[in-house]
């Protein structure tokens, strides 16, 4: 007798224990954007998809202004027929203005604190008007999911370095690193990756154009990508290299002489060549040209980082990892600008396609 009675009591007590959220009765925000509003307020733009019975997706856009971001949420609720939930948030966009003037940490606090927001959500900085960007419909798609996929496939298979919410906080809180975020723009109704926004603490101080992403990715991480890199061989010939696999290595052996060497090794396949014959000599020239081109760009980039005093490559952390005793970051920050950072590239072309 005891067991059935206990079971009955448990069932009675357990059902209705907590508030449930039925998918049809909630607004799942998938993307949220923050801009500067009037009188120092923050303007929040949230987009929640509405899935219609006929298979179409409508995006409802909610715009509110408030002092802090969670207050914006309660204002959304006051104009929406269904309660808002944050569990499906995939992307948060900050305007360039906020990123450059105020820093984004205050606004990201809620993303970090809220247990319902996944660590794989993206953060991005927008060069153009966010309200306009989020009000645009990108085909029959949920805006948040669309933008998330755009960033996701570009960082998995393309030239965008991997970023996400967790990564941002990792770099923000790690003293030997500075975070960076993708920079996106709206151009003629299409969202494009315009490059990278480089941050110092949580403020945007510099940017990298989209053309430099390849070089940055080589400097920053090991990767393999389906994107291609085109090199100009002079005399009007071009070669395009794809299926790139790259390995990065930071050599700290000469640190005592104030010298750090970053070595990049790239393996690739020729996809397109506009010249006549692809001889071993030409392949050799393509390798050399590409090495020279990337090295020049990379050295320029490193110089820029040192001048700005930002460390998106995580060299500070790398130096800490080989330094015994308590690491003095203040001292390192002074030293960083004077360290001689070398960049050496090695390009190996493994295949030249299916024709000779």
């Amino acid at each position: 007798m005891k067991l059935p009675v206990l079971l009955c009591i448990s069932i009675l007590l357990l059902s209705g224990c907590v508030e449930n959220s039925v998918v049809d009765d909630i607004q799942m925000v998938t993307v949220i954007g923050y801009e500067k509003g009037e009188d120092g307020k923050i303007k929040g733009i949230a987009v929640a998809p509405q899935f219609q019975a006929d298979g179409t997706i409508q995006n409802s856009v909610y715009i509110e202004e408030a002092e802090i971001s969670k207050e914006i949420r309660s204002q959304y609720n006051s104009e929406s027929p269904k309660p808002f939930v944050s569990g499906k948030l995939q992307l948060a966009i900050y305007s360039r203005e906020i990123a450059e003037e105020d820093g984004i940490m205050e606004l990201t606090d809620t993303l970090q604190r809220d247990p319902f927001i996944g660590s794989r959500a993206f953060l991005a900085i927008s060069d153009t008007d966010i309200e306009k960007m989020l009000s645009t419909n990108f085909g029959n798609a949920d805006t948040g999911h669309f933008l998330h996929s755009l960033l996701d496939h570009n960082s998995n298979y393309g030239m965008l370095p991997k970023t996400n919410l967790h990564n941002f906080f990792y770099y923000y809180f790690s003293e030997g690193n500075d975070p960076f975020l993708p920079l996106i723009t709206l151009e003629e109704g299409k969202v494009k990756i315009a490059g990278l926004a480089l941050l110092k603490e949580d403020k945007m101080v510099a940017e990298l154009p989209a053309d430099d992403l390849f070089t940055f990715k080589i400097l920053y991480e090991n990767f393999s990508s389906n994107d291609s890199f085109t090199t100009d061989l002079g005399n009007g010939d071009h070669a395009s290299i794809y299926n790139i696999a790259s390995k990065r290595n930071i050599d700290l052996k000469m640190l005592k002489k104030n010298e750090i060497t970053i070595k990049g090794k790239v393996l690739g396949v020729i996809k397109e060549y506009t010249g006549e014959e692809l001889s071993a000599k030409v392949i050799d020239k393509i390798e050399k040209d590409m090495e020279a081109e990337v090295e020049a760009k990379g050295r320029e980039m490193i110089k820029k980082f040192q001048e700005e005093g930002i460390d998106p490559l995580g060299l500070g952390n790398a130096v800490r990892s080989v330094t015994r005793g308590k690491f003095d970051y203040d001292q390192w920050k002074d030293r960083y600008q004077e360290v001689d950072i070398k960049f050496n590239m090695q390009v190996v072309i493994t295949e030249s396609g299916v024709i000779e």
């Binding site: 569990g87 996944g118 660590s119 967790h166 923000y172 790690s174």
Partner: protein, 364 residues
């Protein structure tokens, strides 16, 4: 005093001690012990975790020495060494410690559910249902408790595989330079790391329920070794996954690492992980409450059920009265502190004392 003796049919096989020891250790502590250790030992926290774990092998050895010599439980040891009153007093302290432990486990788990899944979960109702389940398990006796422990180890074991996610996203450079902290920092870290290891001291009470206890020694050590292995893996994954200051701000580091998990069939893994954790919590609750009940039964001659029910009610009430994060945190750290001194100081002292007393008695 013959009532320390246990009937043969109530005894368990020696190898089951493996599960009893291991399940009692893996509880709420592993959800967020990393922060406490790294606060002291930084990127060498895994060494502290390993050192704390290995040192406890010695403590388990001492426990077995004490109990085998006595051929009974800690309550007989206390009575034998300190007499009825002082010995009884020490036993009561031990019982209160176990009850406090069960309160900590339940309240911390409810807090996790409230923060991570259902903010409006009623702790009275949840506690009530959960304790009913605990009572149901306990009414089957120690054999059922052992069975629950077995499932509490085997069923949630797959969770260890989820550490692949933080390891995949990890920055292993963060582990370098190895051994960059002083001995005192490592010691302070090891002290912090001991909370998730504690709990095996319940062995002191259920010892007479083991068939052929001498044989169970290596199983107890084995269960503990598995815990050490798990914690070191979790610690390494955590150090690589978080930057130091980020981890300092993260209360439940293990749960936060689940937020990065990506699986085709589930958007957010925490929900599965935390729900599975109920299976880890259940044997913890069963063992601590059973042990406390058994202790009371041995001290004052009541039926164990008569002792268990008031304990469960007490657990429920205290559990319901703790509302703030600060209080729960305080409870966790005080239990950890008490447990630390109990295992590292009291047990070796007891061992010495018993050794001396037996020598002296022999001489007389």
């Amino acid at each position: 005093m013959r009532d320390a003796e246990v009937k043969e049919q109530h005894k368990i096989s020696p190898f089951l001690v493996f599960y009893l020891v291991h399940t009692m250790q893996v509880g709420v502590g592993v959800m967020g012990f990393q922060r406490i250790v790294t606060k002291e030992a930084g990127n060498d926290a895994w060494i502290s975790v390993l050192a704390a774990g290995l040192s406890l092998h010695l403590i388990i050895f001492l426990m077995y020495k004490i109990l085998l010599k006595e051929n009974g439980d800690i309550i007989s040891v206390h009575k034998n060494l300190f007499g009825k009153w002082l010995g009884g007093f020490l036993s009561w302290i031990l019982i209160i410690y176990f009850i406090a432990m069960s309160i900590t486990v339940l309240r911390t788990y409810i807090e996790v559910v409230q923060v991570w899944m259902f903010p409006d979960l009623n702790k009275w109702i949840f506690g009530c249902v959960f304790l009913l389940l605990v009572y149901y398990c306990l009414s089957g006796g120690f054999k059922v408790v052992t069975g629950i422990s077995f499932f509490g180890v085997v069923l949630p074991f797959y969770l260890l595989l989820t550490m692949a996610f933080p390891l995949y996203h990890g920055h292993f450079r963060d582990l370098l330079p190895v051994l960059n902290h002083s001995i005192s920092e490592l010691y302070a870290g090891a002290k912090g790391a001991s909370l998730p290891y504690l709990g095996f001291s319940t062995l002191l009470i259920y010892f007479p329920f083991i068939k052929d206890p001498a044989k169970s020694h290596r199983w107890a050590q084995g269960g503990h070794l598995l815990t050490v292995f798990m914690y070191v893996v979790v610690m390494v994954a955590t150090i690589a996954f978080f930057s130091e200051r980020q981890l300092e701000k993260t209360i439940w580091a293990t749960l936060t690492t689940w937020k990065i998990a990506e699986m085709p069939f589930v958007e957010r893994f925490e929900y599965i992980g935390i729900a599975t954790w109920a299976l880890v919590i259940l044997p913890n609750m069963c063992i601590t409450v059973w042990v406390a009940g058994r202790g009371i039964r041995r001290l004052i001659k009541v039926k164990q059920r008569k002792a268990t029910i008031p304990i469960l009610i007490l657990v429920l009430i205290v559990n319901g009265m703790l509302t703030e994060r600060g209080n729960i945190d305080l409870l966790n750290s005080s239990i950890s502190e008490v447990g630390f001194y109990m295992t590292y100081i009291y047990i070796p002292l007891l061992f010495l004392l018993q050794f001396i007393v037996y020598k002296v008695r022999k001489l007389q």
